[in-house]
């Protein structure tokens, strides 16, 4: 009965959006903007969501969510255009698509490849939407049992796992980035006693650092510096033929699509891990399970399907921890969290009580955004690819102006800019030295939650850490955290190797006996 009611509410919400011309116009407009952002190398869906956060500040929450989720979905898909036509991924999420997409375009099948990515991306988003609707209530109910210790450990785990999986160099650098984010979150008056921490008498710092301008700085400024500094000239785009939806090819590959979507949702649900990793893991899995792995990299359609389905499925996957636990599943989801906070919505287990239909609204937007993306992709792809001809030195400075006025407009505070720019420049150096930015951002967001819950938990237990070992979920999280840390230590790796070697050596000797 409850399920039927939820389905009914879901369709009511979706119908309400479809029949409202303003919502529809915003949906299609944002999807198109997202596709353009994704298609332009140097611009990412994270940056798109960041810039639109400022523009949607004055909108009501449902309208703002349509705008932000649509640009997220469109941006994730749009990256495939540049991957296929110029062999430069529009976004990191579409990097794996270039492996087979570009060879297809070289063969004169660029239209076919884009048609396929459009359909695969739409399916990926829709599948992930199904997971948002079905899994969210379960996680939400489960999370209601969480106490402060669990929330502290969850935040800690989020930062640690994000640091482990996103570090392009040493894992320890990912952890450092996460802790730097936590340090930034300490700035300002603490939530329990209002004691000023690391404010140095600067009154603007008393209320803590504004999350969204820091996120805009962390994601936008390094991108602007990098693109302008490297002065890359765009290669000429391959010719694009008629866009074909490729429904037949998709139907033939349903098992592969389902597998890729599941990989995307699963990776998206891990805190801080973005669409790029989902795309690569899915591509790798498709190659490893193929009967003809040698065809991958030469224009294999299955390769394009795998990466594009997974990266778009990641969008919904990232929504699951964001909505139910308040932990962003990917960098754009971190931006979304910032935007939601600005609109007075605090994601977490209480969301189903405070905003009973919010998760269904998000699911409905994801479904409609995937449809809008498919329609826009089919009709306007030929026009949108023309943006690939716009030189980056012309649009990057404009993005800079948008980053700056956007950061200022959230709170009408020039101090936000004084914070955003140095953070951006520091993040540029950190990125070039192999430190990932996603854990830092997650640290800034989860810092207050970790701090408050740690002290609240200790207050309840009168300073005892024993509840960590007495409660199953916190014990499980604690064990995972310890194993994650241990797995990076040399002596532990050697111990495990020795253990494995012992087992494997014993087996043949037993057989011999």
């Amino acid at each position: 009965m409850v399920v039927l009611e939820r389905i009914e509410t879901f369709f009511e919400i979706a119908a309400g959006m479809v029949t409202d011309p303003v919502s529809l116009a915003i949906l299609f407009g944002s999807v198109l903007l997202g596709i353009i952002f994704g298609a332009m190398p140097g611009l990412t869906s994270t940056l798109g969501v960041a810039l639109l956060t400022a523009l949607t500040y004055s909108m009501d929450t449902p309208m703002a969510m349509i705008c932000l989720l649509a640009i997220y979905v469109g941006g994730t898909y749009g990256g495939s255009y540049a991957s296929i036509l110029i062999n430069i991924p529009g976004t990191a999420a579409a990097a794996a698509t270039a492996m087979d997409g570009y060879p297809l375009a070289k063969k004169g099948e660029g239209g076919r490849a884009i048609g396929l990515t459009t359909t695969a991306s739409a399916i990926g988003t829709t599948v992930s939407m199904l997971f948002v609707v079905s899994i969210s209530p379960l996680i939400s109910n489960f999370a209601l049992e969480f106490t402060s210790f669990e929330f502290f450990l969850l935040a800690f785990f989020g930062i640690l796992i994000s640091g482990t999986l996103t570090a392009p160099d040493l894992v320890i650098k990912g952890w450092i980035a996460g802790f730097l984010g936590l340090f930034l979150a300490c700035i300002g008056r603490d939530q329990l006693q209002f004691f000023p921490r690391f404010t140095f008498g600067i009154t603007e710092l008393e209320s803590g650092i504004e999350v969204v301008p820091v996120l805009i700085g962390a994601f936008g400024i390094p991108q602007i510096i990098d693109v302008l500094r490297s002065r890359t000239t765009m290669p000429r785009a391959e010719k694009l033929q008629r866009i074909i939806p490729e429904i037949g090819t998709v139907l033939k590959n349903i098992p592969a699509i389902v597998r890729s979507a599941l990989i995307g949702v699963g990776i998206g649900a891990v805190p801080g891990i973005g669409e790029d990793i989902a795309g690569w893991v899915s591509y790798g899995t498709a190659k490893n399970t193929s009967k003809h792995p040698e065809t991958f990299g030469t224009g294999e359609l299955k390769g394009v399907i795998a990466s594009e389905t997974a990266n778009n499925a990641c969008v919904g996957g990232a929504m699951i921890p964001l909505l139910n636990l308040g932990i962003p599943g990917s960098p754009p989801a971190a931006m979304l969290l910032g935007a939601l906070m600005l609109h007075g919505v605090t994601p977490g287990p209480m969301i189903t009580f405070e905003h009973p239909t919010f998760i269904l609204e998000v699911a409905a937007i994801l479904l409609l955004a995937s449809m809008a993306m498919w329609i826009t992709g089919m009709i306007l792809a030929k026009q949108v690819v023309k943006v690939l001809n716009i030189p980056t030195p012309l649009f990057m400075p404009i993005i800079g102006v948008l980053c700056i006025i956007g950061s200022y407009s959230l709170g009408l505070n020039i101090f936000n800019l004084y914070l955003m720019l140095p953070v951006g420049v520091i993040c540029y150096f950190l990125t070039n030295m192999g430190y990932p930015i996603a854990p830092l951002v997650i640290g800034v967001i989860l810092g207050p939650m970790a701090d408050e819950n740690l002290r609240r938990a200790l207050m309840v237990s009168q300073g005892s850490f024993m509840p960590v070992f007495q409660r199953p979920v916190s014990l499980l999280l604690f064990i995972i955290i310890v194993l994650t840390i241990l797995s990076q230590l040399g002596w532990y790796k050697r111990l495990i190797d020795r253990f494995k070697a012992k087992i494997f050596n014993k087996s043949p000797s037993r057989q011999g006996k």
Partner: protein, 260 residues
Amino acid sequence: MIYTDMIEIEKLRKADIFSGTAIFCLGVFAVYQAFQMPMKDSYAGVQNVWYVSPALFPLLIGSTLALLGLILIRTALKEVGVQGVKAVFGYLSSTAFADFLKQPVTIRFYGIVLNLFIFVFLLIPNIDFFLAAILFLLLFFFMFYCGFDERLVGLISKIIGGTFILALYLISDLADKVDTFAYFSADILVIAYIFLLIWHYYQLVKESELIPKFKLSLLIGFLAPFTIGIIFKYFLLVPMPHEGLVVSLLDAIWYAEIWS
């Protein structure tokens, strides 16, 4: 994307020694600051216990950062050794480093960061947003779209010169004194600077194939700030960071009785 030109592993390890040291120092600083916070003593009339102290979390974060910094230094030293550190110091005092500072890619970096900092710290708080944005965009376009690396140093020195004059004008009492009889004097100064810059750049490119790019730069350089600014100011009702000459003119047009 950024990772593609990420410095190679050996250089990375050498850099890790320095970044690790910086992280360690930050961690120690955080711990030191945390010890200045109330731990067990009373604050605002409340008797504290260690587990609700505002110092608890900074202590945890600071000590972990210091530890991670040390581990990073150890990892890096294991790979490059003390010789690696010596080599870095040797490089920093060598002509190779001086050459690196003069490389086009490094000069481009100076130009980008300089323009961003001037825009945020000098222009945005003191100059009309529209004029500030036009100057910011034109400088970037002249540097990276219709310019080449050979002209970059000259352009950067002109930016520094212009900024110095403007900063001096704003910091001294001169701006306030002039404003008593001529409104928006700083804005007018920036307009003069913009036109001087355009004229100067036109002289440089007028007989080259860069003229179409120069024209496009001018078009976008003027059009984009007005599009962005008008959307924020009149549609999203965001007051500009500094409202000067152009905003006053636009206000006069936007709110003119003629429309009502």
